[in-house]
Point group: C2
Chain length 202, copies 2
DNA sequence: CCTTTTTCAATACGACTGCAATGTAAAAGC
DNA sequence: GCTTTTACATTGCAGTCGTATTGAAAAAGG
């Protein structure tokens, strides 16, 4: 058994357990022992694949990021080629919202990591890059819509992209806190999208 | 010395130390001993004023909430009586943004508490109420602006209020993560306010 | 004055933490 | 077949955690 093991698979197995613990008991309940127990393995094995707890946490966070990205690209590809800017933007943004239960869990983990990253510059840098990339894409689509005459010219694309991302992040946090239903968040987002791209033909 | 002590003063003294620890070492660094050391008192004294750690955390969170509220009402009163809806809304929202260093610290604490509350229903309920109150005020001002003909009639005041609060929360999180400068957040907020209340006469 | 109450300080306790060290079994390489 | 490497499991350690306990000093109430 020893030699032939898929390292990445083991690491994601552990990361998944970590996320389950974090999602329903909070990030401060994440310890080597709890994660190991949740994964059904020994703490020794966890130590074998992650030399430190911080390494484990970082990997888990990266996993969340990669999955989100994969989900987004899949949703975008499902739109077919050269979709309308508004449809693409809406797909990207709704993909960030915690609309169903598994995504709520992921959202809680992401929120915990967000707070965790406040005192960890290296972790924060990764989040910053992801967000910057997303803003660039959004701004690009807004520019495209402007060129096509589908968005008001006086709109600053960078500002509008920043607003969109901040809006969904804020909506996501509020939905996680159960301030209102996911449907409300969707409605609010759609209303805002209409102000950027013009009203939809229903 | 013993009998005559201002309990509330002692508790806020400790809560302030807690916030300092949380702001620059993260919430998981908040322990009775660390907080006591930061406050320059013994852990016994902390225990005297808070029977449990959770009680201490809850008090600190309430303190952040009360201070924010006090700051907001003071800023609103500085506007004089019957200010324009847009001015009032802008004052309220910019008051929630972490624009200077002390507010950044408070923001980091609030963010940590937000994640903390995800696994604590009671704490989450308090946040929910605060946010609901804020949304009501915002929606009310938007309605007033509509009645005065200063905001588009087709706007749903509740949705618009929800969007505004989500936007500032999102912007605040991004500013805390140093995704962009506070000035950018302000500019984005102002641009959005213009779409709700119409452009300002500079 | 003397008792009682409040305010704190010091310490001890058991549980838990991250991590290192050690041991063991099994497969790969020669 | 023998050595080496990989993959774990177990255990131990030093430290931190929240909290309970104990005790002392000091002021208020009688």
């Amino acid at each position: 058994m020893p030699k032939r093991v898929d390292h990445h698979a083991r690491r994601t197995l552990i990361a998944d357990a970590l996320m389950r613990v974090a999602a329903d008991r909070g990030l401060e309940a994440v310890s080597l022992r709890h994660v190991a127990a949740e994964a059904g393995v020994s703490t020794g094995m966890v130590q074998h694949y992650f030399r430190t707890k911080d390494e484990m946490m970082t990997f888990a966070m990266e996993t969340v990021g990669e999955r989100t990205e994969a989900r987004l690209t899949a949703a975008v590809e499902a739109l077919g080629e050269s979709p309308a800017p508004k449809a693409l933007v809406r797909t990207l943004l709704t993909g960030l919202l915690p609309l169903d239960e598994p995504r709520r869990a992921e959202g809680r983990v992401a929120l915990a990591f967000l707070a965790y990253s406040a005192a960890r510059p290296r972790v924060a840098a990764a989040l910053r890059e992801d967000a910057a990339g997303m803003r660039e894409v959004l701004a690009g689509r807004i520019r495209a819509a402007q060129d096509a005459g589908d968005a008001p010219e006086e709109l600053d694309p960078d500002h509008a992209a920043t607003a969109l991302l901040a809006l969904v992040d804020g909506l996501g946090v509020h939905v996680l806190g159960e301030h209102y239903a996911p449907e409300t968040a969707l409605a609010v987002l759609d209303a805002h999208l209409d102000t950027v791209f013009g009203p939809s033909p229903h």
